[in-house]
């Protein structure tokens, strides 16, 4: 990922965009944080939040006209938060010392004429920029006119206190100055390096400056220059906060003028602006503003905290709300993009984002709910590919799934045939590896049925390459897809009939030239077989596989099949285009098993009904967390000997391999009348394993085949350890990248296995 790519990714996630209140404020006060502090009764922090941005917070906080309220999102469901009233109670509650860091003087002097809000703000900012500031006022006391204008709220000593701060920092006040006279103007222009005319408190037609047709002073509305380059003017607006803002912008202009830099560059975000932050109002209950017991004196502290508690604390987080994966890493896509970029850029050191990158299910729900189309799955997949290319992909992340894929492509399972007695195929049934791993009988029954309805239907057993694709191993997934494309061409370009929506997605997106159809579409078109008493015992809710998110016609077809079977089912709150992954997608379950289990649990908890799905992996994962779940084929070809198919357990990894191998043998024998092929020698070793140990080994992804190989080698004279008391044996074997340890004992029927574990490191003495 290049830095420019990172910028584009970051730009797309809007979580860090300011909320409407901040964007509406000419000074960009962080009103969201301010209100949060008030809600929590943290008056000191609330005041500090105001004072960080606001000049003269003790004054402005009392008279701010709060344009933020007009854009407050709460106002769309009830009344806007009364932020102005909260500011007033806050500045009355808390008065802290302002932060002021004196800098070496720039040696340039600025005169400010008038003591309105714009003048006081300009003085506030310019003294911080270390100019000498003299403020001239016509009356006896600066700020008196402003105070009178806002009586009684500014009647107390709030004005005096803020003026005292200015004086303390070095602002000079000159009272009784003849501000409107040309001679005073001339003298000040000559004496000072720059001059500000605060038009909110003074005016004069005697100043030698250009005026417009209506007779008012000609002032640039953005940078506040006049016809004299040394003279700036502003403050002509009825809004108090805007007057203060103009004072601030004038200070910026004067500073740039005196520093001899551009007065206009980079000032686009001054003033109110449109924000891109999206905040969902779904499910927000309307609330009226908290009433004031005494409207004259404003909110009490208790009323203020109650009012602040209505704040929606505007955030986007649309994706994080629906994705346990995005939630689990504690941030949101903008931050993740940065972490992933840093992870890729590391030369020496630990890549802390590897788990983040490999845990995404690539399901695309984030993009479906994102107002800006942020696609975490694209970011993760492209990064996985780059990690693979650079040799930086952790070997353990996907190896088990890739070995399972290799098994599916090996002679143990791989098979491509025309229908028996046929020399060509109009269709090619591709059940996919995991349906055959989970329900070989149903895969066989469906193949028989498709042949009776469509005639020349060939069969293809194998894997579509999805695991390699998800693991970022483009070379391997392309190799497999190329193989299928070649098979398709050799078989006379039949239409693929796919029973797995992950296979459908692979061919749809990566081999669009191969004509495909989901078997649910086929069944919806040709009709269902007569099957006795398929009614499920309970209410059903449909779980759509995440790989159908962008193939709504598959979802529709599955519902048509269901309707044809005469069965009604409910929709889940997150269904169809907003469906969630079961935890297997993107190899999440390989890279992050505990998170994947949490994902499955959350999905399972969405409805108390039994789930109905049409992906074997989804069904099995749901079953593994104790959710009653049916596969659509359970209704069409009820599994033999299962009185309650929704309760059938998930077959373990060993069983899933055996099921595939047996299915191939069974089909060769029954459909093509061929003799079965004998397996490897170790496969003949008979193992006794208790259910508890079996479960543990499945979680550790240790296959029976691994146990058989280890024991076969030890019993053929390989190294073994013996326990003197129990007589049990322990042996290790490292067929490839993993060392398996098995604790076992010979019994009459073969061997009993008590435990097994594995590690990737190699240990030698």
């Amino acid at each position: 990922m290049e830095q420019s790519d990172l910028k584009q990714w970051e730009q797309r996630c809007i979580q860090e965009e300011p909320p409407e209140c901040t964007a509406a404020c000419p000074l960009h006060v962080d009103a969201r944080a301010f209100v949060r502090h008030v809600r929590d009764g943290r008056w000191r922090e609330a005041w500090q939040t105001l004072a960080r941005t606001m000049p003269l917070a003790g004054v402005l906080g009392r008279i701010c006209d709060a344009p933020c309220q007009a854009r407050c999102k709460r106002g769309e469901v009830g009344d806007a938060i009364r932020i102005g009233a909260l500011e007033r109670v806050c500045v009355a509650q808390a008065q802290e010392n302002y932060r002021f860091t004196p800098l070496p003087s720039k040696g340039q002097r600025i005169a400010i004429l008038g003591s309105g809000l714009s003048s006081l703000t300009a003085a506030w900012d310019l003294i911080r920029k270390s100019y000498g500031v003299t403020l001239y006022d016509a009356g006896d006391r600066p700020g008196a006119a402003l105070q009178a204008q806002h009586a009684p709220i500014l009647s107390g000593d709030s004005m005096t206190a803020e003026l005292a701060w200015l004086e303390k920092w070095g602002v000079r006040f000159e009272a009784g100055a003849p501000l409107p006279t040309p001679s005073f103007f001339q003298q000040t222009v000559e004496e000072f390096d720059a001059l500000y005319l605060g038009l909110d408190s003074i005016d004069s037609d005697q100043w030698p400056l250009t005026r417009n047709a209506e007779g008012s002073l000609q002032v640039d509305p953005q940078i506040f220059t006049t016809s004299n380059p040394k003279v700036f003017a502003g403050g002509l607006t009825s809004s108090t906060i805007l007057r203060a803002a103009q004072g601030r912008w004038v200070a910026t202009s004067m500073d740039r003028f005196l520093q001899k830099v551009s007065l206009t560059a980079g000032r686009e975000k001054e003033g109110a602006f449109a924000t891109r932050l999206f905040t969902s109002l779904a499910g927000v209950q309307p609330l009226r503003a908290v009433a004031m017991a005494d409207a004259q004196s404003g909110y009490s502290a208790a009323e203020a905290t109650a009012e602040a508690a209505r704040c929606l604390n505007c955030q986007c987080l649309e994706c994080v709300k629906v994705c346990p994966y995005l939630e689990a890493f504690g941030a949101y896509p903008r931050k993740y993009a940065r972490e992933i970029y840093n992870n890729e850029s590391i030369v020496m050191g630990t890549r802390t984002a590897n788990t983040l990158i490999n845990s995404c299910s690539l399901c695309g729900l984030c993009q479906a709910v994102c107002p800006e189309d942020f696609a975490m799955q694209d970011l993760c997949l492209q990064t996985r590919r780059s990690m693979v290319e650079k040799g930086k992909m952790p070997a353990s992340a996907h190896e088990f799934a890739l070995e399972d894929m290799a098994f599916s492509q090996s002679d143990d399972f791989f098979l491509v045939r025309h229908a028996p007695g046929q020399k060509q195929s109009s269709h090619l049934f591709f059940p996919g590896c995991q349906l055959c791993a989970s329900s070989p009988g149903q895969a066989a029954a469906l193949y028989d049925y498709l042949r009776t309805r469509l005639g020349s239907v060939g069969l293809a057993l194998g894997c579509c390459g999805a695991p390699a694709h998800w693991a970022g191993r483009r070379e391997e997934s392309e190799k497999i897809l190329n193989l299928w494309q070649k098979q398709w061409e050799e078989m006379g370009r039949p239409q693929f009939l796919l029973a797995c929506s992950a296979c459908h997605q692979m061919f749809r997106e990566l081999r669009p030239q191969v004509p495909i159809q989901s078997v649910w579409e086929t069944l919806a078109a040709v009709g269902l077989p007569e099957s006795p008493n398929t009614s499920p015992s309970a209410c059903l809710a449909i779980h759509d596989p995440c790989t159908t998110r962008e193939a709504l016609h598959l979802q529709t077809a599955a519902r048509q099949v269901l309707a044809a079977a005469g069965i009604a089912a409910e929709e889940l709150p997150l269904g169809q285009e907003l469906t969630e992954c079961c935890g297997f997608g993107g190899l999440m379950a390989n890279a992050n098993p505990s998170l994947a289990q949490e994902v499955t649990r959350r999905r399972a908890a969405l409805s108390a009904h039994d789930y109905l799905t049409y992906c074997a992996m989804c069904r099995d994962r749901l079953a593994a967390v104790g959710k009653r779940a049916l596969h659509l084929l359970d209704l069409i070809f009820p599994p033999a000997g299962e009185s309650d198919p929704a309760a059938r357990p998930r077959p373990g990894w060993s069983q899933r391999r055996e099921n595939r191998a047996r299915l191939k043998q069974m089909l060769l024998e029954k459909v093509w009348s061929e003799a079965p092929v004998a397996g490897a020698n170790y496969a003949k070793i008979n193992l006794m394993i208790s259910a508890e140990v079996r479960k543990r080994l499945d979680e550790r992804r240790i296959l029976e085949e691994d146990l058989q190989q280890t024991i076969a080698r030890a019993e053929a004279g390989g190294p073994r350890l013996r326990h003197p008391v129990t007589g049990r044996l322990r042996a290790a074997f490292r067929p490839r990248h993993v060392t398996f340890w098995v604790e076992y004992a010979p019994i009459k029927e073969g061997f009993e296995v008590f435990n097994a574990y594995c590690h990737r490191m190699e240990v030698k003495s």
Partner: protein
């Protein structure tokens, strides 16, 4: 790879070929071109090592991840 595990159970195993008890001794652990030495139960005569389950699932898995993320 320091560990405070109690390996008395592992040390009660005997090498089946040499019929000798296992003793703690130096072994070399290798992963992803990284190699280091540590002590584990092993047969002094033939060198057969026993990697304890707690070590394989705990500390070893942790170090494997650290090395993979490097």
């Amino acid at each position: 790879m320091k560990t405070t595990e109690d390996w008395s159970e592992e040390l009660s195993w005997r090498c089946a070929a040499c019929d000798r008890p296992l003793e703690m001794g130096q072994v070399t652990v290798t992963y992803m071109e990284n190699s280091f030495t540590t002590d584990m139960p092993r047969c002094r005569q033939c060198g057969q090592v026993l990697v304890p389950e707690g070590l394989a699932l705990g500390k070893m898995a942790e170090v494997e991840k650290i090395l993979e993320d490097k």
